[in-house]
Amino acid sequence: MSSTTPARPRVSIQTEDFDLSAEVAALRAGDGAVGAVTTFIGTVRDRHAGQPDPDSASISAMELEHYPGMTERAIEAMIDEALRRFDIRAARVVHRVGPLAIGDQIVLVAVSSMHRGESFQACEFLMDWLKSEAPFWKKETTLEGARWVDARVSDERALARWGIASTNASVPAP
């Protein structure tokens, strides 16, 4: 990469949609050492695991809130740690906020590396960490009205695999 090229932001929090192809092209641009790119996209689902009727839609819309400033800083720190832990070339996170419809893209994590193993690992690491420690909140519209989504202990367990403890979903003793 030329030293005169302005650095692309590694983190974007935005209401607009994102384009996977454009993001991957930009992530790889000018880096001939890249031999692998792993991407993850999270999308808005119309139902929950464990809902009474697993085969019907129960969610009609979603809204996402974040903590401007802190959210960006938290994800920047996660990317710094991914660069320390894994032999990767670059990483990028895009997360949408505001009103979203069923099927909309919510989040993109994209990681480039020389070989596939490191980018697979770093992508999952970033996503696991983001789920339990990046300040975003989802509110979903259901048949019974709007409700804030509950955090899941399974997300904490996913993060614990990487040696990072979180008590996000755990309810404290009264």
């Binding site: 999270g42 996402l64 809130e65 974040h66 903590y67 400033g69 802190m70 800083r73 938290a74 997360h95 919510i106 989040v107 996503m127 983001l130 789920k131 339990s132 420690e133 990046a134 300040p135 975003f136 909140w137 989802k138 509110k139 804030w148 989504v149 509950d150 955090a151 996000n168 979903a169 755990s170 309810v171 404290p172 003793a173 009264p174």
Partner: protein
């Protein structure tokens, strides 16, 4: 000393976006947990949504913190529910 308090998600809906709190000069050092207790002591919606036993997280100057964290003059303290992004 002044502290900026911010709320997000369900707490924001119940308490508003936040407030500036002014403490008398010479007041003893305040932890995030002690601030939560002060806010609970107001009763009403504060007592309900900040109640002990409710899953709640806090950030000091935009970094996740424990309730033992000490608040300095000019600090920004945020309370919010468990995070659910991604």
């Amino acid at each position: 000393m002044t502290i900026q308090i911010r709320y997000f998600a369900s707490l924001r809906e119940a308490l508003g976006a936040g407030e500036t709190l002014t403490l008398e000069p010479g007041a003893p050092a305040l932890t995030v947990g002690a601030l939560r207790e002060q806010l609970i002591a107001r009763g009403g919606a504060h007592a309900e949504v900040l109640a002990r036993g409710r899953a709640l997280r806090a950030a000091l100057n935009q970094t996740m913190c424990a309730e033992t964290a000490e608040i300095a003059d000019g600090a920004e303290v945020a309370f919010f529910p468990p995070v659910t992004g991604g």
